[in-house]
Each structure stands twice: as C-alpha cells, then as structure tokens.
Amino acid sequence: MADLQINLAGIKSPNPFWLASAPPTNTGYQVQRAFEAGWGGAVWKTLGDPILNVTSRFSSLDFNGQRMAGFNNIELITDRPLEENLREIYETKKRFPNHAIIVSLMVEPQQDKWHEIVKRVEDVGVDGLELNFGCPHGMAERGMGSASGQVPELVEKQTYWAKEVAQTPVIVKLTPNITDITVTAEAAVQGGADAISMINTINSLTGVDLDTWNTVPNVAGKGAHGGYCGPAVKPIALNMVGECAKNPRINVPISGIGGISNWQDAAEFMLMGATGVQVCTAVMHHGFSIVEDMIDGLSNYLDDKKVKSVNELIGKSVPKYTNWGNLDLNHTVIARINNDVCINCNKCHIACEDASHQCIDMLKDSNGVEYLQVREEDCVGCNLCSIVCPVDGAIDMLDIPSNQPMTWNEREAVIKGTKVKSEVNIGK
C-alpha cells in the first residue's frame, strides 16, 4: 500500500487530507471527530478578536439537480473567545499527537497584534499557523482578510511580523480576489512564508429572488457580497495553484484548496504542485466520513500507478503547464462520431451548427436512416460536440500530431526574423 504521509514545510501529517479553516473546524469536538474519521490534519477556524455573525449565512447554487455545485457564505471568523479555542486545541493535540493542527489567524495589520496572537496560540502547542489574508466579506470591511491580502506590501509585512516570533511553520492563505495571485504569493515568500495556501473564497452573490427582489442570501431583506467556494471554483483554484507552482520565485510548498470533493480532485491539485489539500464545502455537504473514500481511492490509484509515495505526485503536471504562446499551432484534433454508439439526439449537430464550425452533417443511409458525420477537413477540433454529447464513447476526439510543430512564439520569431534578413539580403 502506498505511503500517504506528507510533510508540508515541516508539518507532518498521516495523509494529505486536511480540513480547511471553516465551520467544520470550529470546535475541538468537531476536529477530534474529524481525526477519528481519518482526516490527516485540520486548519482551525480562524482566530482573532471574536466577531458577531448574522443569520442567515449560507446560500447554494444548485445546478441541474446537483446541490451545492457552488456555495456562498457571509460568515466571519470565530465568534468564540480565544481562551476557549486554545483549551480545545490543546486537548485535541494531546489526544491526536500525530495529526496536524494548524491554526488560522487574522488580526489587524499591526505588528504588536500579530506578535501577541502568534505567541498565545503557539504556547498551547500547534504544528503550524495559517495567516488568513483571504476572507472577502465583513472582515475585509475592517481592513483585514482579503483587504490586506490584496495589497502585496501588507501581505509581505504581516507575514514578516508573524515570522518574527513564530516557532512553527507559517502558511500564508491567499485570496483569489486579485488579478494575478502570483504577485501576492511572491510577497508572502518575500515576507518569509514557509508555505502558501490557496484559495480562500471568491466574491459572490448567489442570486436575486424574483418574487421579493431580495438578494440571496439576505438578512432581513438586505444582502452583502459573500465568498464563493465548492466544486464550481475548482478550475479557478487549480489554475492558481499551477501558476504559483511554475513560478520559480515562489519556491515554497503549496497547500491546495478550492472545490476539492474527492480523491481525484486531490490528486489533480498535487499533480499541479500542491503538497497537500484542504477541504471545506464537500465536508459541509456530506460530513467527515468522505475522507474514507478519499484515502482508499488515492491509495488504490497510487498502487495502480505503481507509485510508492503520494509525494511523488507533487508537481508532476507542472512542466506540462505553459503559456498559450508555447502550444503547437499545427497539432490537429478532429472529432469522429461512432454511429453504433450515437443515439442521434443531434446535440452535437446543433452545437456545431450554432456555436462552432458547421462541420457535422446530418445524412441518410441507403435505408433512409439518419446518421451524423463529421466533415473532418472543416473540423477545428474544438471539443464542443464531445462536451455536449450525453453518451460516453459516441464521439472520439482524435489527435493527429503535426510533422512540423510550430508555436505562436516560434511563428512570431520567424516572421520578424525574415523581415530583418530580407532587408539585409536584398541590400536595402
């Protein structure tokens, strides 16, 4: 059986599955039950000056029968006194010495405030700290969370203040509410971060009630933007992890967060450069026990792949993730419809006709039976037909490698080069 243990910047954990700082890590009762269920680590619900919450707090984007495809919240950090949290952290660590307890922190951007909370939390014995520079609502209006996480200088400075006194590894949790997350990731590294984690939630409004015209969620008829997470944000998070992993100046481990719901998602984040993962929405939806399938699934996958340790996955797909200008313009992909599998629903024809390159013909065979066929010479290989097709195996996308690969960057170079050369050759 493959080894699932990880070591993230010195924080050891029996497996790569951690609970993200959120309602499931609000109390010792919950974190202890999570560890019993099999979670390798937990990032405690963010500590700071205890806040006051509103009700209601959550809303969900259900899509085509899938509940919680996206999840929105306007909850703030912990509303419980520091002493209570610290006592429960101490008790939990005592009961589970081999599990990772990381404590999330958020205070105002002042050196003495960071020093105080870091020292008090580390005094009870924790494995690491996570600085929450990400919550996009409420706390941000008070200059904390994403408000300070969007300013690279503040990320660097606050990380530096935490590191001035921290004895345990410091993870900086980044906000996705920024154009280029590598800028704040680099600032965290400059400030001395031992690791970075991403993503926190994305500014969002779930919807508007068409009867009352109230926003969803709302508190007594008034709404405010929340933070979006769950399966819908996974592609955004995965890209951000990849962007950081391929940046040579961001040379610290990454804890991947955002839409992770199963072992496959976790493996994808690790392949894109994460050393471990954190999960929130999937646990809020299905409970702690999902970790059993995550552990079994990942373990079986590694065995099937003959990979001895989960650490061997880390970053393996990063060299394959490049810029658009380095992709081969001459590589061809074409669609081919398998008529013995196709159910003639015509979705591919409609999609191609209305939204792509009009290259799927509706034909009739000698018996008058309708069938669909791709005019391969006009197919641009966009994938739309296979994406809309409801039947697995009905459309294959065939790869046709090019004889002479040519990227956009190479094309630009050759065109510019020819201009220079021709001027010399023709003697102008």
Binding site: E377, I415, T418, K419, S422, G427
Partner: protein
C-alpha cells in the same frame, strides 16, 4: 466556399510561387490577414535585386499557419 476550400485555394497559390522559385521575404500582419511578400531566388538560391517580387494577401487561418510553417522549414 467552405473554410477548408479557402485554405486549399490559398495554399495552392503559395505552393505555386514556391514551385516557381520564390521565397518569402517579409510578412505584414493586418486586420485582413497576412500580406506575404515573395521574391524569386537565383540559380544559387540567393535573393537578388533584379529578381521578380510579388505578394499574396493570405486570409485563411490554416493558410496563415501553412506559410509560416514553410518559413520555419526554410530557416532550418
């Protein structure tokens, strides 16, 4: 005309010039596509001032890939 037929038509024009001993000497990208300038090479394969020049406006996307692939091959 289908996009593929447009490609074939433009590719054939490029191939015709190449067969006649022309080489691509400059490309100007514009809103219509690429203006590709050709000049004939002499027997030694060298561009000279007295040789014929001509140009093609290549508009089809695949044809624009095609001539630039030829240019890469020319350079290799």
């Amino acid at each position: 005309m289908s996009t593929h037929n447009e490609f074939i038509a433009e590719r054939d024009k490029i191939d015709f010039l190449i067969d006649q001993g022309y080489r691509i000497t400059a490309v100007t990208e514009n809103l219509s596509g690429d203006l590709v300038e050709f000049q004939q090479v002499d027997e030694a394969g060298v561009l000279g001032e007295k040789k014929e020049t001509t140009s093609l406006l290549i508009m089809n996307a695949n044809a624009r890939k095609y001539f630039s692939t030829l240019m890469m091959e020319q350079q290799q």
